[in-house]
């Protein structure tokens, strides 16, 4: 087996143990658990004992959607930074590569900063009305 892939064999073993334990616990509780009765009151959504009011899936603030979009954008930037961070010191050892490796990422972060400032000015991060 390829050594790169065989590294992941123990991860698979741990995943199998974790899935088995979780499923086992849920099945065990189904077998051991008390059998309850159903009633109309018990089947209603819990709202601190009051009769549920309004739509059970209310409309949510648009800001959650905005945060999700911003997350995708910024998380991709983070992933770009990791390979750069790993090779950075090795590139610095070669005098010809020292400036390009620094300034390519500084310019990239500069572009990112402009986008960040735009989101800040558009009040994308403000949750107070």
């Amino acid at each position: 087996m390829d050594s790169q892939l065989s590294q992941y064999l123990p991860v698979l073993m741990l995943a199998a143990v974790a899935v088995a334990a979780t499923a086992g616990m849920m099945i065990l509780s189904m077998m051991l658990g008390k059998l309850g009765r159903r009633s109309k009151a018990k089947d209603t959504a819990y709202e601190c004992g009051m009769i549920p009011v309004g739509n059970p899936t209310p409309r949510l603030s648009m800001r959650f959607y905005l945060v999700a979009m911003l997350f995708i954008l910024f998380d991709i930037e983070v992933i770009f930074l990791y390979p750069w961070a790993v090779v950075y010191r090795r590139f610095l050892e070669h005098p010809a590569m020292a400036n390009p490796i620094l300034f390519s990422m500084v310019s990239f972060l500069g572009v990112l900063l402009v986008g960040y400032l735009y989101a800040l000015k558009k009040r994308a991060f403000e949750w107070r009305n």
């Binding site: 065990l28 601190c48 059970p56 910024f74 010191r89 050892e93």
Partner: protein
């Protein structure tokens, strides 16, 4: 031992791998159970109460009693809930939190030098932990959605927005570390730190540590950032409609996440299994030395977990707009600034 020597090297490595998996899983589950007891006892001490002390000496059997109780309770699913998602959600929260520990080196070597004390010595180390840890958000959002009820839905959506927001700060905060170390493997991070007490990355990157610590609290949904639960506002949040072991699974997942976050903090900033004294920063040559390294790691892990518990009972909850403002307008720029400063410093040093 005769039996072990008769196996081929591949069979030996698989056997040791399986033993490590079972051992780590058992220790994590044990710690999850006793983290709950530690939490309740520390909370009681802070609030000037006694805390659970009836089950066994000093309440040491309390986790067992809690587990039995959780199993025996009625496993109820409300009529309006979506059955498949309702069952899937607790498992989706629990499983990733148990998988994060796979790449954490919890000791040097045990017995022979090839038998390294890490389940999977992946070269992408830290990316694996980020990838797996962030899967937990699916379970929480799904739990909120599956119940088809207002409080859980709001708790789930809030939690989703919170966890993804702090993931940015978390990811950015660690980049200066990897600028210094130059390798994503967590074993390499520990080797880098094995140069005396001030080789520990907390002393080289205190700002990164502060940002990572705050983000870790937010990622594990612990106070002062426990928005998803927010007992006083949402009466429990995403787990409201759950009962029996499914409810308990959410809590076990929270503690498993806390253990994983503590293990990451110890590995990244506190030198993992090393101690800068008595030559304990070199891989162990004897079996007992290897055990001692595991003991050092567990002691550091426990200290971090006590910090998590201590903070929980000392701090009030943030308001949601404060939480989002802290994440996006404070931690993200700070982390970006830290990256640029570290990169410039290394560049100047290299001439």
């Amino acid at each position: 031992m005769d039996l072990l020597e008769r196996l081929t090297p591949i069979e030996q490595s698989v056997t040791f791998g399986a033993l490590k998996v079972v051992g780590v899983f058992a220790i994590v589950m044990f710690l999850v159970a006793y983290a709950v007891l530690i939490e309740r006892r520390v909370c009681a001490a802070i609030q000037d109460r006694i805390g659970p002390n009836r089950a066994g000496p000093f309440g040491l059997l309390q986790p067992l009693a809690d587990a039995v109780k959780a199993f025996l309770k009625e496993d109820f699913m409300p009529a309006q809930a979506h059955p498949v998602y309702f069952w899937l959600a607790p498992a989706l929260v629990m499983i990733p939190s148990l998988l994060v520990v796979a790449v954490i080196p919890f000791g040097s070597t045990l017995g022979n030098p090839d038998n390294r004390m890490v389940i999977a010595d992946l070269n992408i180390g830290i990316l694996y932990t980020f990838g797996i840890a962030s899967l937990g958000v699916y379970g929480i959002v799904l739990a909120g959605y599956a119940a088809r009820s207002k409080y859980p839905l709001m708790g789930g959506i809030r939690s989703g927005a919170q966890m993804i927001s702090y993931e940015i700060a978390m990811g950015l905060s660690l980049i200066p570390l990897f600028l210094l170390v130059g390798d994503l493997n967590l074993g390499a991070v520990i080797d880098y730190q094995a140069r005396g007490l001030f080789g520990w990355l907390i002393f080289k990157q205190p700002l990164a540590f502060a940002i990572f610590l705050v983000a870790a609290f937010a990622e594990t949904n612990r106070l002062p950032f426990d928005m998803p639960e927010a007992e006083q506002e949402l009466a429990g949040g995403y787990n409201i409609e759950y009962s029996s072991i499914k409810f308990a699974l959410f809590f076990m997942a929270e503690y498993a996440h806390m253990i994983a976050a503590s293990a990451m903090l110890v590995t990244l900033f506190f030198g993992g299994w090393t101690l800068p004294f008595f030559g304990l920063d070199q891989p162990a040559s004897t079996f007992w030395g290897g055990l001692l390294h595991i003991g050092i790691f567990l002691a550091k892990l426990l200290a971090m977990m006590v910090l998590f518990v201590w903070v929980r009972w000392m701090w009030p909850r943030f308001r949601y707009d404060q939480l989002m403002a802290l994440g996006w307008t404070r931690l993200v720029p700070l982390a970006l600034g830290n990256i640029v400063v570290t990169a410039l410093w290394l560049w100047l040093k290299a001439g």
